[in-house]
Symmetry: C2
Subunit: 435 residues, 2 copies
Amino acid sequence: MSVDSTTLSEKAATSDDVTEQVFDVARRAKVASRALATAPRGVKDAALHALADALVAQADVIVAANADDVERGRTNGMTAGLLDRLTLTPERVGAIADALRELAALPDPVGEVVRGSTLPNGLRLRQLRVPMGVVGMIYEARPNVTVDAAGLALKSGNAVVLRGGSAAASSNEVIVRVLGEALEEQGLPADLVQSIDRFGRPGGVALMRARGLVDVLVPRGGADLIQTVVRESIVPVIETGVGNCHLFVDASADRDMALQILLNAKLQRVGVCNAVETLLVHREAADFLPVALSALASAGAVVHGDEQTASLAPTGVEVIPATDVDWETEYLAAEIAVKVVDDLDAAIEHIRTWSSGHTEAIVTKDLASSERFVAELDSAVVNVNASTRFTDGGQFGLGAEIGISTQKLHARGPMGLAELTTTKWIVNGDGQVRS
Amino acid sequence: MSVDSTTLSEKAATSDDVTEQVFDVARRAKVASRALATAPRGVKDAALHALADALVAQADVIVAANADDVERGRTNGMTAGLLDRLTLTPERVGAIADALRELAALPDPVGEVVRGSTLPNGLRLRQLRVPMGVVGMIYEARPNVTVDAAGLALKSGNAVVLRGGSAAASSNEVIVRVLGEALEEQGLPADLVQSIDRFGRPGGVALMRARGLVDVLVPRGGADLIQTVVRESIVPVIETGVGNCHLFVDASADRDMALQILLNAKLQRVGVCNAVETLLVHREAADFLPVALSALASAGAVVHGDEQTASLAPTGVEVIPATDVDWETEYLAAEIAVKVVDDLDAAIEHIRTWSSGHTEAIVTKDLASSERFVAELDSAVVNVNASTRFTDGGQFGLGAEIGISTQKLHARGPMGLAELTTTKWIVNGDGQVRS
């Protein structure tokens, strides 16, 4: 088999010094993770409560450090939205601490026996859920993710290596120090939660190359960040997040139900991955469009549409001609693409062409249509007569959400704590050998 | 987040033409896979039987094409072992066909409901097992893998794109043609089983870059091949195979049991990943060593050992001084590294340092030792009082074996057909929206 050795050796040649230091961080995380891997739930939950207490006790110090980040962000022209996500107040620190207490209340995924049997030769097999070991997180300028990621990792028995955005560097430095001190007070190693922010961007690159030291890498943030990690990492990655979700209104759809689901899926919260981005309408349900377009426009939504959609728009509702860019765009805004399709086949074909594989929904009264929609679409979640906004770990009853996986390996759709674990086979015998 | 854009653009610049052609193969595989994704088990099993019949009917043509490969291999100085693996006879073609019939007899993993519940708001959730879509296989000069991979993929509802070694090119070309014709006779698309061997090495590189078109890549072959795919692929990979397995004989071990397990694990079959490569002996069980070393030497095994081991060797048994190279080597031969350790902690520390995370075994009568060994070692399979040779899909009762995963994401240890599937959430409602 061919090796693209140029690429490999170039990868190896960048920032050797930083690479070695980041690898050393990961090695210390691995050693620390062993203390937690066999710790019973009580130890982990007590640690989570201690971390929460420490954050609240040190809220003033954290908020002061955060003020430096916010000031720098403002100077650098950060947008109001990003500044808001970056900003910590004592109340927000309290909410972050509460999230850790909620994690403590969730069941522990570690130790579950997934499968087991006794073989004909008497060997007793158990497949047990165990921690991954070291989880890497690469994320952007939201200091709450620092605590969130640490909590998720610890609850599932893992150590975590954090690479946050430089915009939150001062906040993250203080938070990681506070968490580390609290861990040590609980008799656990501070190395369980480490940041590599001090190494800057080369540190992030090194983390993506720490195969064998870091067991899984979870990027959290915008599409660019996620795609970079997916493409560059040789550490196994769980891809999350991008949701170009579709709603198909079938010929037989209850029009009122369709309208409620459309408005909820598009507008209840617009900046999220489970919001609908494209509405497809069966041509026999075209009577739905004037009502739907009016409602969207009244709610302030911008509508992009094909010619048929435009021709059905009531007076005063503007429909911007849609292009392929609209079919592929995740607007993350009060904006929607609308298309009239000939039938279910055309709807399925459109979704197969443009979907990111996150969530699709059909509104229909027809059993055969619902069954074909569900069977023939290859997305993480497929809904019948329900809003796409339900695609969420909390809504699905999985407890804390790590993210929503749009890949097929290891995890698909909303991910709970179990997705930060792997399994181990344990075989008990009394001297069996293979014949 | 930093993008190593040089690396990315260089990747994109190699062999654009081949890349596009391989991507086109993958796209056709994706389209073909849809026909199979919703096919009931009966259709898939009938196809597997038809493929088996076709291989037997065309055995002469296949063996003739294979003779060209064998002749070329002999001219190129291929070793006897590799030539043997490459060679097909009518009998061997029959055995390969029989393996397809055995696959047909296995349960279908597709359609299993993994989890399900009704939420407080009345939404009905089901998490269903569904095919991956397109499976890529990169392997070496063993034409039986061509059929094996095709059968595993089809049984689990997937299309497959094959990149075999150039040494088996003539055999693979004929086999893929025979399989394609048989599929079409069954009313299934020939594109379900495609080879990209005609594109040579650049084709393999392109396959590793077909993220979004190929859903999972499974390398099968030697350590070099597997490591190349793991490092170079941006398609998610399941890493298989390398087994630096350990056997620890505890102070309390039944010496007879330890000897039987040692000889079985090391010598029953030496070229396999679940064979033992290092023996660790508790110093209080050092009396085991003279007997064990004699038995190993009598069976023709080469022994590498530390000083204590050498000092305990009976007259006439040669012990080659062991170095770190021995502790890390997967010999895949009648060769073993032996070390005396102070206690269980030292054994665990040695295994953590050198193991590839495949299989470790302890022989002991002590409950606490067995529990610590099992809990503290982070390998895919950990055995108590049983040979490492049991780490195998067939032995574990999983049916057909795709390989043995030594990674933690998606699959760990012996993999059955279920590991070539993913899941899909299906949500049924009656108009629910999120509040």
